[in-house]
Amino acid sequence: MSWPRRSPTPPRAPAASTNNRVVPKASSVPPPADGEGAALPRATPVVSALLASSPSGPVDSVLAATVIALIGFGVIMVYSASAVEATVRHHDAQFFLKRQAIYAIVSVIGMWLVSRIDYAKYRKLTYPIMAVVTAMLVFVVVGFGHRAGNAFRWIAVGPVHIQPAEVAKLGIVLWLAYSLSKKADKIKSFYIGFVPHLLVVGFFAVLLLKQPDFGSAVVLLILTFTLLFVAGARVHYIGAFTTLAALGAVFLVRFSEYRFKRYLAFMDMENNRNDIAYQPFQSVMSFGSGGFSGLGLGRGLQVLYLPEAHTDFISAIIGEELGFLGILGLSAAYMLIVSRGVKIALEAQDDYGSYLAFGISTLFGVQSLTNLAVAMAIFPTKGLTLPFLSYGGSSLLVNAMAAGILLSISRPRTATADLGSNERPKRAAPSASALVATSADEGAAGGAGW
């Protein structure tokens, strides 16, 4: 591996070291009877089958800690951003806090579970997952969706609202990683390597545009082109189709009166600040009024004016309450997550894991960058959530599960139970210890218990 690596140094935090320095064990042995493992419901055979051969090497604790810290931070920010809205609409200031806290707990457990599943097993699950995602998207588009504002983006299952677009993003990454690794060198061919992927993603994108969810469609296309590029598709195909897609997007904006108006209003925000550009304008106002160090947690006042402050525009509230320092910290956290993800991609056992890890990292990176850009009105309003922070169960759970997959890939592998016929050099152990050492060295958020 060409990735520069630190030499193993004695860990400074003894607590972290004892927890992290797990001696690799045979993967067929179920995890030692730690409480959570024992308490797991063994109801579904799929889950037990998945867990049966879990690799038990240590995960990337820096990544895990950062993600958990962000989720916890998100709960606090959601409370701060939603208290007024919750009081007005639900007569309960903690309305969104309570829900987000539950989602957070469920998500962290979900992440833990997923991290224990050998990611290689997703290869077989690729098509079932794609089928479910397609069904959900179609379900929403044909009119069973739950409406919020002008968009039908949700499926209501009792009190739980699932946003298929979030699931679709992860689904497409899973499928692309599978497909690209399977096609290997044939990726260079136009009809085998390029067109099928574009057709599938194009179909998804059209479904998303129907909702309408312009932002998610764009994210899907970015993910696709990214992975195609990484896997070695010909650059001029990608260049040509990116240009085509861009033209298509321009066409969509220009000839959809509603979008074009939004665009014009966005370009001339000053004059439309009371109606169409109200949201982006309020968002920048909110973002900017934080100044260098912010107004203080819970002291932000723009929540009174900024609609959806706790979902898509939570970064504006962070900007207001925690200021430039807060945004800097937030950016650093995302950079850390993405760079750990890319590191995992580079060090992955196989190309499937590598594509998967890189796709997920790109997903986190693109979403957080876009969300911040929207909050500063660099981009027009997109309706994209801020990963791990925005209020919303499906977004949080999907992102946490994606992080879980990353963690799973990060596990060193001493034994390869069912990874196909390829024989691998057993080089994981030093890599794992290096990771642990790095994490202890950086001392990021304690790296507890993972």
Binding site: G232, F292, L304
Partner: protein, 695 residues
């Protein structure tokens, strides 16, 4: 990627590295963008946000009430609901495709509820403002309908409609003292009359507070919430006595009708203090409906209009001459048999006479005699004398638009004939108020006082902030001279005097008539068709309690002389006012209530007044159920209202408000009261209130 050949794996990593670089660039862009927005422009955004939040609220503190001297409200503020619209809120989340249709639909619903044109509502909706008044001063019915429209439990509730209370000025006595009180604009600014001149007191000081509003425009909280009472405007107690004002207006109105005059005014003053007890101007108007009133009717003629006073001025000329000792009170002056030429002008007397004393000169109102005395006094001393009585000068009354009158219209000393004219009130102009104040100086031992209109100012919590006290402008003439002139003026209302019509039985009345020809504006010459008839006097002479000036503009029909047109008005108003003030006629025993009521049955106007006022009050009572305290009979007396069916708390409150001492029995609603409704009791007297729970 150990499953791939190293060359391919290397390329994959290189490509990943390139994409990471791109993302890194993106992050750099975001961070620098954040630095720009937050650190570079942060202060500006903060300012902007602050301005949006702290929308300055013009909270109108409750405007103070104007009371008469006995605490009867003349102008009060009541909260009237108004409906405002937040168009952005109302149209939130509507597909632009359906926007025009929805606007039509919503406007129709709102317009129907508020009884206003659909186009107006649609117009306001289309503009998409966060705040616009839809309709101000809506009725209870409309409020109910708006509530139903925005009721969230119904099928299609409308958002963005707000009902807010807005202060509305209400004049419970309608026309009473209209031109004096003035009115208040819909925005709460005093526009005319006392509402304008007392703006500072009535409006209250803390008229602006900072409040925090959310995007729905709801007031969240304000910094340093202040006591509402402290914010409220001050309550002003005028020197006006509602009873005397009522009488003055009624009598003025009657005279206006009888003589078909185009205008008139009455000023009644307490000569000892300068307090104005009544100030009537006719035609008047109802300030509750000022929009419909003729601007001419809104003018307070007693203060704003100047006119040539005629013979009334002889009083002040005479006082000046006597003070200057240029004429002996016992002298006899030759009256030239009714015609005298000065320079090239011939002046006439109505009563042709030969020799007259100064007293007779006043009582029969001889112009020739007055001219001779004035010429004896001399131009400069006459001018100075009249100035000292307050003519040609503003009186200092706190009222907007006061006219000063003009003594030297040409801006130079009078020539001989002008001096003679000035002696009997020609070629100069004065106001009714000036006449009343100058006459009060004669009544008040030669002391000219500043007219007072505001007796007391209380803040919202009832603490007295200022109390007016008499203010002496100057000693115009020695007390002896003033008393001498007073005695001379009694002759005007006795025997052969021109003002016998002003005599009040049982009192000695001092006064002077005035009948001035008006100048025809087209020819610039005096006409024989248009006159100003005036009477100014005070009563009783021994210890003057009230000075009344009555001026009628262009009376027609049979007579136009001040003695026959204005003097009777003086008598009737004076007679009533003396009873109000509790002044007993000479050598008479106090009148019993029983006698009064007998007189009332016999049709005595003065005694009837209470009755009439009571009726007027009922007629003027606002529909909205604003409780106006009953007008006290006299200072220190109160009429027991009909409490039947009232809840205990309110009955007790009302009784205490009248200065009565309630004793309470039982709970619930009032079933019995003692004494019965309508009884007149001195303040502090006990009222027994019996309550029973309603079934």
């Amino acid at each position: 990627m150990k499953n791939l050949d190293p060359e391919r794996a290397r390329w994959i990593k290189i490509r990943m590295g390139m994409l990471c670089g791109l993302m890194g660039l993106g992050l750099g862009g975001i961070v620098s963008g954040a630095y720009h927005v937050q650190v570079d422009d942060g202060d500006e955004w903060f300012e902007l946000a602050e301005r949006q939040r702290q929308r300055r609220l013009h909270i109108q503190p409750k405007r103070g009430t104007i009371y008469d001297r006995n605490g009867a409200p003349l102008a009060e503020s009541v909260e009237v609901p108004s409906v405002s619209l937040d168009a952005v809120e109302m149209l939130r989340g509507i597909d632009p495709k359906y926007l025009p249709m929805k606007i039509q639909q919503y406007s129709a619903r709102v317009a129907e509820a508020l009884n206003m044109p659909v186009e107006d509502v649609a117009d306001k909706l289309t503009r998409r403002r966060r705040f616009a008044w839809l309709k101000r001063r809506v009725s209870e019915d409309e409020v109910q309908k708006v509530r139903e429209l925005s009721d969230r439990t119904q099928r299609y509730p409308l958002a963005g409609l707000t009902i807010e209370g807005e202060g509305h000025r209400f004049y419970p006595n309608r026309e009473l003292a209209g031109p004096l009180l003035g009115f208040v604009s819909p925005d709460g600014d005093g526009r005319e009359g006392l509402e304008l001149s007392l703006e500072h007191e009535l409006k209250g000081h803390a008229s602006e507070v900072h409040g925090l509003r959310d995007r729905a425009g709801r007031l969240l909280f304000s910094e340093g919430v202040e006591d509402e009472q402290a914010l409220a405007g001050h309550n002003v107690y005028l020197t006006i006595d509602k009873g005397i004002q009522f009488t003055a207006e009624r009598e003025l109105e009657a005279a206006m009708k009888t003589y078909e005059a185009i205008g008139g005014s009455i000023v009644a003053v307490d000569p000892a203090t300068g307090e104005i007890l009544a100030m009537a101007s006719s035609p008047g108007y109802n300030p509750n409906d000022y929009g419909a009133a003729d601007p001419d009717a809104r003018r307070n003629r007693a203060v704003a209009d100047r006119f040539e006073p005629g013979s009334s001025m002889k009083v002040f000329m005479m006082a000046s001459a006597l003070a200057a000792k240029s004429v002996d009170p016992n002298a006899t002056i030759y009256a030239e048999n009714g015609t005298m030429a000065i320079d090239n002008v011939v002046i006439h007397d109505t009563h042709v006479s030969k020799w007259l004393t100064p007293t007779q000169c006043l009582s029969i109102s001889s112009n020739i005699c007055a001219a001779k005395i004035a010429l004896g006094l001399g131009e400069s001393r006459l001018y100075e004398g009249l100035r000292r009585f307050g003519f040609g000068d503003q009186s200092g009354i706190p009222f907007p638009g006061e006219s000063a009158g003009v003594l030297r219209p040409r801006g130079r000393p009078w020539v001989q004939v002008e001096t003679a004219n000035a002696a009997y009130g020609q070629g100069i102009s004065v106001t009714t108020l000036q006449l009343a104040m100058a006459m009060s100086a004669v009544a008040n031992n030669g002391r000219l006082l500043e007219p007072l209109l505001v007796k007391r100012v209380n803040d919202g919590t009832g603490v007295t902030l200022s109390e007016a006290s008499p203010h002496i402008r100057r000693d115009v003439v020695p007390a002896a001279t003033a008393q001498l002139v007073s005695e001379m003026l009694v002759s005007v209302t006795e025997g052969e005097g021109t003002g016998v019509e002003a005599a009040i039985p049982g009192f000695r009345v001092a006064g002077k008539t005035g009948t001035a020809q008006k100048i025809d504006p087209t020819t610039g010459k005096y006409t024989d068709a248009h006159y100003i008839a005036s009477f100014v006097g005070f009563v009783p002479v021994e210890k003057p309690r009230i000075t009344i000036a009555v001026v009628l503009d262009e009376p027609v029909g049979g007579t136009h002389a001040g003695g026959s047109v204005s003097a009777p008005v003086f008598r009737r108003v004076g007679e009533m006012a003396l009873r109000y003030l509790g002044v007993m006629p000479r050598g008479s025993v106090p009148m019993k209530l029983a006698d009064l009521s007998k007189k009332a049955e016999a049709g005595d106007t003065a005694a009837n007044t209470y009755q009439v006022m009571g009726e007027a009050k009922v007629a003027a009572a606002p529909a909205a159920g604003v409780v106006t305290p009953s007008a006290p009979m006299r200072a220190g007396e109160a009429r027991v209202p009909d409490f039947a069916g009232w809840p205990a708390r309110e009955a007790v409150k009302a009784a205490m408000g009248l200065g009565l001492t309630p004793t309470v029995e039982g709970t619930g609603r009032l079933t019995h009261q003692e004494p019965p409704a309508g009884a007149v009791l001195p303040k502090g007297a006990a009222v027994k209130l019996v309550f029973e729970p309603s079934t």
